[in-house]
């Protein structure tokens, strides 16, 4: 059940350059069904910024009624979020969308988790869930550079974690696909979230993989009503077939949607 809730900010920390982790408390965490779901955040109680901002739930702790979001403060809305302080009450709509279905891998099998930039956060919840189910988790994280990198330790605690940066300032130089190929990583399923070029590279390099990927698209309502966030499906006989990223996704089976 989707709800709109005034949640309270428990803590907010800058965990990397312009990357903030905020912990929120309220009823919503109890309703979260899967890692990869997101919330739609009104970043200010005033009219502007008018649109909500979609942000993935990175982790949640239903017993404590808490959940975490990790976001990059960049534009108008995320800058407002970065100015939130512990104790603030903030307007959050969620949980939204369909998260990662992990039925592709069984206990003892290997999952390859690939994240780029602010695509990394929802994968932490996923990795924890997979590890909890006894799946062997390997992670490849791509960042622009060292200052913007985060969560390496948290992923390392769950399995092998490789980092790549474009400038080579930490980890291996290059893209995530370079790391996967160079190391010859094997897997039973891939789970990916990150910028479109990364998803496209994964999709074309490992076209026959099993797994899921999480998409980003500009959103209006976040609940499936406004048709802002549609994408084409790979199988589209008459050109009118589509998926809504907000309500059908943001997580889709590998190969289901066109990454355009």
């Amino acid at each position: 059940m989707i709800q709109k809730e005034w949640m309270s900010v428990v803590s907010i920390d800058e965990i990397a350059a312009s990357i903030f982790e905020v912990v929120l408390e309220g009823d919503m965490p109890e309703r979260i069904q899967a890692p990869g779901q997101f919330v739609h955040v009104k970043t200010s109680p005033h009219v502007a910024p008018l649109l909500r901002r979609p942000v993935s739930i990175s982790e949640h702790w239903p017993e404590q009624r808490r959940m975490a979001l990790v976001f990059r403060a960049e534009g108008e809305g995320t800058s407002r979020m970065a100015a939130w302080r512990a104790g603030d009450e903030v307007d959050v709509l969620g949980p939204l969308g369909n998260g990662f279905d992990t039925s592709d891998v069984d206990e003892g099998e290997k999952a390859l988790i690939v994240g780029g930039g602010v695509g990394v956060p929802p994968l932490l919840g996923l990795a924890k869930q997979l590890a909890g189910h006894g799946v062997r988790v390997q992670t490849v994280l791509g960042f622009a550079d060292e200052p913007s990198a985060f969560f390496q330790e948290r992923f390392s605690a769950l399995g092998d974690c490789f980092v790549s940066t474009i400038d080579g300032s930490i980890g291996e130089t290059g893209f995530v696909t370079d790391v996967i190929d160079r190391r010859g990583l094997s897997y039973d399923a891939i789970y990916a979230c990150g910028p479109l070029p990364m998803l496209r590279a994964l999709d074309s390099s490992y076209a026959t993989a099993k797994g899921k990927l999480s998409l980003e698209e500009r959103m209006g309502c976040g609940i499936g009503a406004c048709f802002a966030c549609v994408c084409h499906t790979a199988d589209d006989p008459d050109g009118t077939s589509y998926r809504k990223v907000c309500s059908d996704g943001p997580v889709f089976p590998w190969g289901e949607v066109v990454l355009s």
Binding site: R218, I223, A225, F227, S260
Partner: protein, 303 residues
């Protein structure tokens, strides 16, 4: 005071309906609240054939507003009558079906099909969508075409026909008068203002379609002015819209000359906007001595 409003085809418990295109066909919102609380529901535009619409990005944020270029994505007349309308029948809320097309024949076919379905209370002729390359908007900017289209659609419809006017015109009263003479049962205004946003970082338009429709609080002063002007040239019922976010905005529209209102963009930034506004209105009505809207409006701006 009684909030009830009675318009051709639309017996509304209160004057608030979601605006077309901002509410889909209602199902998503039905998970959030009881749609019977609404005065009416304007559903998403129906075209004759199914449409995918424009490429993404389809929305962009502007100061106190948003641009959209959805491009009339919808499952087509058949899809709407078979998959969407039957579900809405369980509601005790009148459905205003938005009709779009590129040729007069399209509009006629959709209007006839929806009217015959027996599942809609009235039609809203969208002659004002700025987001499709051909047609649509021209009907809304040329009084002769607008009148002819109205006449033809009236001819094939058994339910009342509202004509939804475009604000992208020199003189909105001319179009209003033209469609009134052609037999429109009511007017709805305003649709979105044609607008554009360019990202200085990429030096490209933010919308894939480049140009889109501007909606939200930013455009409210234009909407109020147009309703005020149109109110002075016609007795037709007016469904007013453009930037309504709260109860005070509803009152402003009613004073300007609207008989009912539609809430568009507000649903997008707050999916509970309609029931919240209706609750506010209900509380306000409890303290308002006038018997009904007609009585209350006598205290306002004279048309």
């Amino acid at each position: 005071m009684k909030l009830h409003v009675s318009l051709p085809g639309l017996e509304m418990k209160n004057p608030v309906m979601p605006a077309s295109g901002c509410f889909g066909f209602g199902k998503e919102f039905a998970q959030l609240y009881d749609l019977n609380d609404l005065g009416a529901i304007a559903i998403k535009a129906t075209t004759e054939e199914a449409r995918f619409g424009n490429e993404t990005p389809r929305v962009a944020e502007t100061e106190a507003g948003m641009l959209n270029a959805i491009g009339l994505q919808n499952p087509g007349l058949k899809g709407v009558t078979e998959q969407e309308l039957p579900w809405l029948q369980q509601l005790d809320t009148p459905i205003l079906a938005n009709v779009a097309g590129t040729k007069m024949e399209d509009y006629e076919a959709v209007a006839a099909g929806l009217s015959e379905s027996g599942m809609v209370a009235a039609l809203e002729l969208n002659i004002s969508c700025p987001n499709v390359k051909e047609g649509g908007i021209t009907f809304g900017t040329d009084p002769k075409l607008a009148a002819e289209l109205t006449k033809r659609v009236k001819h094939v419809s058994d339910v009342p026909v509202y004509v939804k006017l475009s604000p992208n015109v020199t003189d909105i009263t001319e179009i209003a008068k033209a469609v009134e003479h052609a037999g429109a049962d009511g007017l709805s205004l305003i649709n979105t203002l044609s607008g554009m946003k360019i990202d200085p970082a990429t030096r490209k338009p933010l919308l894939a379609n480049e140009i889109g429709g501007l909606s939200g609080p930013a455009i409210k002063p234009v909407a109020i002015r147009m309703i005020y002007q149109v109110r002075q040239v016609t007795e037709l019922p007016i469904i007013g819209m453009g930037g309504i976010m709260g109860m005070e905005d509803v009152l402003e529209f009613m004073i300007a000359g609207a008989d009912a209102v539609a809430v568009g963009t507000a649903n997008i930034s707050n999916p509970f906007a309609c029931p919240e506004i209706i609750q506010e209105l209900t509380d306000w009505a409890g303290t308002e001595p006038a018997a009904d809207w007609a009585g209350w409006k006598q205290g306002g701006v004279k048309a």
